[in-house]
């Protein structure tokens, strides 16, 4: 006997059907918007071409490189500014400022200086992540339990021990959250760098297919990006559950 159809399947099928109808017989039929079948065709072509995987690899490479560099800079920096009140207050305004400035606005200058290259993408990713991640780490370090710190001081524990056993553990969950958000953001910026700045990768694929009017391919690539986005957030959450089982998120 067949069980009830899961709602997820129903709504996905409904959405696809709606799209197909609208673009084949419905109100959008004569607007040359790709239908489901056209997009699916383009998707198959994409997924069976070597080009696609090269582009995908480039996107991932940029994201990973930018992510690693940003974390390598931001976590130690965040610990430092979190440890000293003077450093924290000194950097507060500057870091907050750069944190809220969307990376996209600096693309024109970055293209000028670095050109449409992988380095440009990596630079954008680092610029996007480094300030938010430093602040996040610093907040964690500063959030160490005051009573615990006092107690340690009373027992005459060295500053290093206080850092090692109170400050860093308190930063742990903050860093974990920051890492998770940064990983997703790195991927997004990696794609944006391609789409807007012409850096290699899937973003550039969309830029090229759009410029050449290959609409089904544009749709197919964007579709793939959605799937990758879901996959990445699932993987990151899963990894963190495994790695930091004590942290309830």
């Amino acid at each position: 006997m067949l069980g009830p159809v899961p709602p997820a399947v129903v709504s996905v099928v409904a959405a696809l059907a709606l799209w197909q109808l609208a673009t084949s017989v419905g109100p959008l039929a004569n607007l040359s918007i790709p239908s489901v079948t056209e997009t699916a065709g383009a998707l198959v072509t994409e997924l069976t071409s070597a080009q696609f995987y090269i582009r995908l690899w480039e996107t991932i490479q940029m994201a990973v490189a930018g992510f690693v560099i940003a974390m390598g800079l931001a976590i130690p920096l965040g610990v430092l500014i979190g440890l000293s009140r003077f450093a924290w207050r000194s950097t507060k305004f500057t870091f907050d400022f750069f944190k809220v400035i969307p990376p996209i606005v600096i693309i024109p200058i970055v293209i000028l200086v670095l050109g449409p290259t992988m380095q440009m993408g990596i630079f954008l990713i680092v610029f996007t992540l480094v300030f938010a991640m430093s602040i996040q780490t610093g907040l964690g370090v500063r959030d160490a339990d005051a009573v615990l710190l006092e107690t340690m001081r009373c027992y005459g524990m060295s500053t290093w021990k206080q850092i090692r056993y109170a400050r860093l553990p308190s930063a742990g969950p903050y860093i974990a959250v920051g890492v998770r958000l940064s990983a997703s953001a790195a991927l997004v910026v990696s794609i944006v760098a391609g789409l807007i700045g012409g850096a290699p990768g899937l973003g550039k694929s969309i830029l090229l297919s759009q410029a050449s009017g290959d609409d089904p391919r544009t749709f197919a690539t964007v579709f793939v990006l959605g799937v990758i986005g879901i996959a990445v957030s699932r993987v990151v959450i899963w990894t963190q559950r495994k790695a930091i089982f004590w942290m309830p998120t």
Partner: protein, 259 residues
């Protein structure tokens, strides 16, 4: 902790030395610069005042701001209304979740080409991309907020015979506001990014286009002023949002400070 006025000033001063140093260093190091990409800061500022304290500001920046505000306002409206409807119904969530999950996983900027295909390069395309991208975080936050309404509060409302709509307006939605605001803030940032992105990708008018065209035509000074202006606008928008949030949620922050 009571902040005396000189303490406040001290904190501002401590926060100011790094930006001041950066600007000073930029000014002196670029003063004699022969590097075409890094013109002297004095020239950039001169061009900045020349461009943006004139009619040019209205012509270039106004369309961007209009699209941004229109798209964001629509996103707020759609996100909150739809989020309340979906969040209020258990079956609604089951059906909507996979679609929402998918759309929000697409990088906001990457949806712009889709809207270019659908709407062409006109204003509808820009506003639609801004709206759709910015709606997602607002929608998700509202659904979560309405769903995670405090059981005790809702039951209290029921016992005192508040009508369904009163329960919604006076209990569920206010309780969800802190979460909704976090969605609104994310939506705001996305709306701004997509505003610029839609101008980068669909050439024409607006501050994004202006800057990109300047870059492509090697009008380096113009490009710098565009970047600086966009940066300042992005920052200002966040500042304004923060002020509105602090005011609306003063009960929330007041409560948090005490607990």
């Amino acid at each position: 902790m009571i902040m005396t006025w000189w303490r406040r000033i001290l904190i501002v001063l401590i926060g100011a030395w790094i930006p001041v140093t950066i600007i000073y260093a930029w000014w002196t190091l670029s003063a004699e610069s022969a590097n075409p990409y890094f013109p002297p800061l004095s020239l950039i500022l001169e061009r900045f005042t020349e461009l943006w304290f004139s009619q040019e500001f209205v012509v270039t920046v106004f369309p961007s701001l209009r699209n941004f505000i229109l798209g964001y306002a629509l996103a707020c409206l759609i996100g909150i209304v739809l989020g309340t409807l979906i969040g209020g119904s258990r079956t609604g969530i089951k059906y909507a979740e996979p679609i929402i999950d998918f759309v929000r996983s697409i990088p906001a900027v990457a949806t712009v080409p889709i809207f270019i295909v659908i709407f062409g390069l006109d204003i509808a395309m820009r506003v639609a991309s801004i709206t759709v991208a910015a709606t997602m975080p607002i929608l998700i936050a509202t659904i979560q907020g309405v769903r995670s309404a405090d059981v005790v509060q809702v039951e209290t409302a029921r016992v005192f015979h508040l009508s369904k709509s009163q329960q919604l307006w006076r209990v569920r939605l206010p309780g969800a506001l802190p979460l909704i605001f976090s969605g609104l803030q994310l939506g705001l940032q996305i709306a701004f990014i997509v505003t610029i992105a839609s101008e980068f990708l669909g050439s024409g008018f607006g501050i994004g286009s202006f800057t990109l065209i300047a870059t492509e035509s090697f009008l380096i000074l113009d490009a710098w002023t565009g970047v600086i202006l966009m940066g300042l606008l992005g920052y200002l928008i966040n500042v304004v949002f923060d002020i509105v949030e602090r005011f609306t949620l003063r009960w929330y922050y007041g409560q948090k400070k005490i607990v």
